[in-house]
């Protein structure tokens, strides 16, 4: 059956990213040598990206349940109940490697992929976010990557018609050879109309929908699971080109045929394309699938079965159509100008059979393709703990205002307006809080309910202490959602790490996952979806461990959300949570003193919860006028952000006696928020006292500058100018 196909040699097996023992496993499983097409299918199913062979064991420890979770990990996206019969459907996914090779198309198809994951489940995407990490701004490739990735994300999302409402952007030399592009999408569906991949019913048509299949991205999933070497350039021909227009049509057509009751099961074709989607539909439903590749809509002539099975052409879907509904489904697809073809059927054989030109190209046990994928308990070592940094031991020449100005003008803190102005963040007319705040708020239909979304992680913390760093990432997202008044409901994660075959890297993954799990549990913030991206390293140098967390929460009335801008002169500024002046792994240490060391701030999850719940209640009751969480950069950066957003300055208190001023202003103690109060000041203080919550007065709003006792005044407008300047100037120098 393999007359025209290459012979299976150890080299060919290795080229497919399969280790000798993995190949042995294949031989045992099927009792014979696989055909070339079958080898391709195994390589797609068993690579890191699809099988999670290095991470699966550790992912099992994550809390995934809550009364409001409708669907946890295991489907295209997670689903949560947001009340009133509605559900939010969301997930985050990486497109790191393709974006490094071709930033515009790589990032664009990343957005396309995650949007598809969401509407595959029957949800209309209502918001998108993205978490981006680039190398040192001085690295010759960085500017090109920033320009391309941002244009690619905008190019896809804007055309598709989803508002891109939030995200994060960071720079660090450890991403020089591997940028990170993590895209998140959030959709809205009726809670009782969610669609799944699980096929049911024997003899039903398997239908192919969307764009035609070309030779794009063959081996893309394998690429995502391999470390970059000097030869990265050679992997170029696999680049996929996104077609947001086709995706928009696919969205409308899919939602229309779902509404018409035509769909039994649906699965998008993402990584590893037709192979992964067909196998998943069958395996989940305990059914076999038989495909006839002669029917497959192809863009190019002479494509082989191997190529068709592994193509990663974008904007495609696979569905099992309800009996007797083919004609209706086809009419809807034709109306939208999309391809529609019956390419196979479900069977009761539990075999995955692929036919092409009268030959059987593959005949494999369908369940085992997924279930029997290798599972590794890779050796790992714990990251050694570091001592905290004693502020008194530091030699600091920068003044407090000088350090603030430098921080706010540095790549990580500088305004990202240049980026989010390239994203349509207003379309659909529901964006209540635009980019630039703690979390995005998007009204649900005509309101008053809204969804609150944020994503975050502090890789420096994760590198120094994976467990605390993992906790902190979850806590910070939870805090961001809380700071606008949202009730955090569930999270999605995107675990970006280096080569898991190295025990130190595996130790980072294990540590971060434990931290994420502990925080998710303590904060009632379960994990409902996610994605793992490993082998992010070049020539043996790994990225910083970067477990990006994306969170979704709900707010009952979008009119009652809080924003971070100061509202008026003469209001009291309070800080909730204790300040010890923790400088280990702080932005201050890294940016001003050029050292990245020490232990990161520990996260007290009980305190996080207590403080967050307190702040949320204050917002709900309208007792606070502005709210901002305190994260990297510490108190003074947070206050400055509140001032810059409003143009209103403040007169601040002196640091407590005995504390190094820089540690007070720039320390990164967790579980803190800054709030302003007007008439309700006494009541808020009383409430805090009753609840046993540490609150300190930080100052009073007013004037056009920030006044700190004993320091020169900082003009808010000048600070804002500096804050806004870095990115446009940096990008302006290039194309």
């Amino acid at each position: 059956m393999t007359s025209l196909e290459p012979k299976i040699t150890p080299q060919l097996v290795a080229d497919h990213g399969l280790k000798p023992d993995e190949y042995e496993r294949i031989l045992t499983l099927i009792g014979r040598e696989p055909s070339f097409t079958e080898l391709g299918i195994f390589s797609a199913m068993w690579n890191e990206h699809c099988s999670y062979k290095s991470s699966r064991l550790h992912l099992k420890g994550l809390p995934t349940k809550a009364p409001w979770v409708i669907q946890g990990p295991g489907e295209n996206a997670g689903v949560i109940d947001i009340g009133d019969g509605q559900a939010a459907v969301f997930k985050m996914e990486s497109h790191n490697h393709p974006s490094y090779i071709e930033p515009y198309q790589g990032a664009g198809t990343g957005v396309g992929g995650i949007l598809r994951d969401v509407f595959t489940m029957g949800a209309r995407p209502i918001a998108a976010l993205n978490a981006l990490r680039f190398g040192d701004p001085k690295h010759p490739r960085t500017r090109h990557l920033v320009a391309g990735v941002v244009a690619g994300i905008g190019g896809y999302g804007n055309s598709f018609g989803v508002p891109t409402v939030g995200g994060l952007v960071g720079f660090h030399t450890r991403y020089d050879g591997n940028c990170l592009v993590n895209a998140m999408a959030v959709g809205l569906a009726d809670a009782d109309k969610i669609f799944y991949a699980k096929a049911t019913g024997v003899g039903l048509p398997v239908v192919y929908l969307g764009s035609k299949t070309g030779r794009d991205g063959i081996h893309g999933a394998t690429m995502a699971s391999a470390e970059f070497g000097e030869g990265a350039e050679e992997k170029r021909p696999t680049v996929q080109v996104g077609d947001p227009f086709a995706e928009k049509l696919l969205l409308e057509a899919c939602l229309e045929i779902m509404e018409a009751g035509c769909v039994v099961a649906i699965q998008d074709m993402g990584a590893a394309g037709l192979t992964c989607s067909a196998v998943e539909m069958g395996a989940k439903g305990d059914l076999g699938i038989e495909l006839d590749l002669d029917k497959l809509p192809c863009r190019e002539a002479g494509m082989s079965a191997y190529e068709m099975m592994l193509s990663e052409s974008q904007e495609r879907m696979l569905m099992v159509i309800a009996p007797g509904k083919e004609a209706q489904a086809e009419a809807i697809f034709r109306k939208w100008g999309l391809d529609f073809a019956i390419v196979g059927r479900t069977t009761d054989t539990l075999r995955f059979v692929v036919k092409h030109k009268g030959e059987v190209k593959a005949d494999l046990p369908i369940k085992e393709l997924g279930d029997e994928a290798p599972l590794y308990d890779r050796p790992w070592v714990e990251t050694p703990k570091q001592q905290n940094v004693d502020p008194a031991s530091l030699e600091i020449s920068a003044t407090v205002p000088g350090a603030l100005e430098r921080l706010l003008g540095s790549p990580d803190f500088a305004s990202k307006r240049w980026i989010w102005e390239q994203y349509d963040h207003l379309i659909l007319n529901n964006t209540v809080q635009r980019p630039g705040g703690d979390a995005a708020v998007v009204r649900v239909e005509d309101g008053p309910k809204g969804l609150v979304m944020a994503c975050d992680v502090t890789p420096r913390y994760c590198e120094a202490d994976p467990f605390e760093g993992g906790k902190q990432a979850v806590a910070e997202v939870w805090r961001n959602i809380t700071a606008v008044g949202g009730k955090p409901l569930a999270l999605t994660d995107n675990l970006n790490f280096g080569n898991p075959e190295r025990p130190e890297i595996m130790g980072q993954l294990v540590g971060c996952l434990r931290g994420i799990g502990a925080a998710a549990l303590a904060l009632d913030f379960p994990v409902v979806s996610g994605n793992v991206s490993l082998y992010n390293e070049t020539n043996g140098r790994a990225i910083l461990p970067t477990p990006t967390i994306g969170g979704v929460g709900v707010v009952a009335d979008v009119a009652k959300t809080a924003t971070l801008a100061f509202k008026d002169d003469g209001e009291t500024i309070l800080v909730i949570g204790a300040t010890t002046g923790w400088l280990g792994q702080s932005a201050f240490l890294s940016e001003i003193l050029d050292r990245e060391d020490g232990a990161p701030p520990p996260v007290d999850l009980a305190l996080e919860r207590k403080h967050g719940d307190f702040v949320r209640t204050l917002i709900e009751e309208g007792l606070v006028t502005a709210v901002h969480d305190v994260s990297d950069g510490g108190l003074l950066v947070a206050v400055a952000e509140m001032a810059m957003a409003s143009g209103i300055g403040a007169t601040l208190v002196a640091p407590p006696a005995g504390m190094v001023p820089h540690a007070f202003w720039f320390g990164e103690d967790q579980a803190r928020y800054i709030v302003t109060v007007a008439h309700a000041k006494a009541l808020v203080l009383k409430r805090a006292e009753t609840a046993g919550i540490t609150v300190a007065k930080l100052g009073v709003t007013g004037s056009d500058r920030l006044n700190i006792p004993g320091e020169r005044p900082i003009i808010v407008d000048a600070l804002r100018e500096r804050h806004e300047a870095w990115l446009p100037i940096y990008m302006g120098a290039g194309f």
């Binding site: 198309q105 794009d216 680049v239």
Partner: protein, 80 residues
């Protein structure tokens, strides 16, 4: 000196624009068009008239900016 640079998508790369144009021509009743692929053309005016140098300059321009060599190929032509 005048030159023309043609930048076209490599043959296996999807061309969404070409595809949309094919569809539009069909629905406008223009018959007999089997396929369309869209590319870019740059009409470049160069200083001097040293063709060898001009060619080198344009090659440099293509590699650095005009073409995305990951998915596109380019051709340099001299006009007149």
């Amino acid at each position: 000196m005048k030159a023309r640079v043609l930048v076209t998508l490599k043959s296996a790369v999807l061309d969404p624009q070409g595809k949309a144009i094919e569809g539009a021509l069909r629905s406008l009743g223009v018959p007999g068009v089997a396929s369309v692929r869209q590319g870019k053309v740059f009409d470049v005016e160069l200083d001097g008239d040293d063709k060898v140098r001009a060619e080198a300059t344009l090659k440099d321009a293509c590699e650095k900016l005009l073409a995305n060599t990951v998915i596109e190929s380019y051709r340099i032509e001299f006009v007149g």
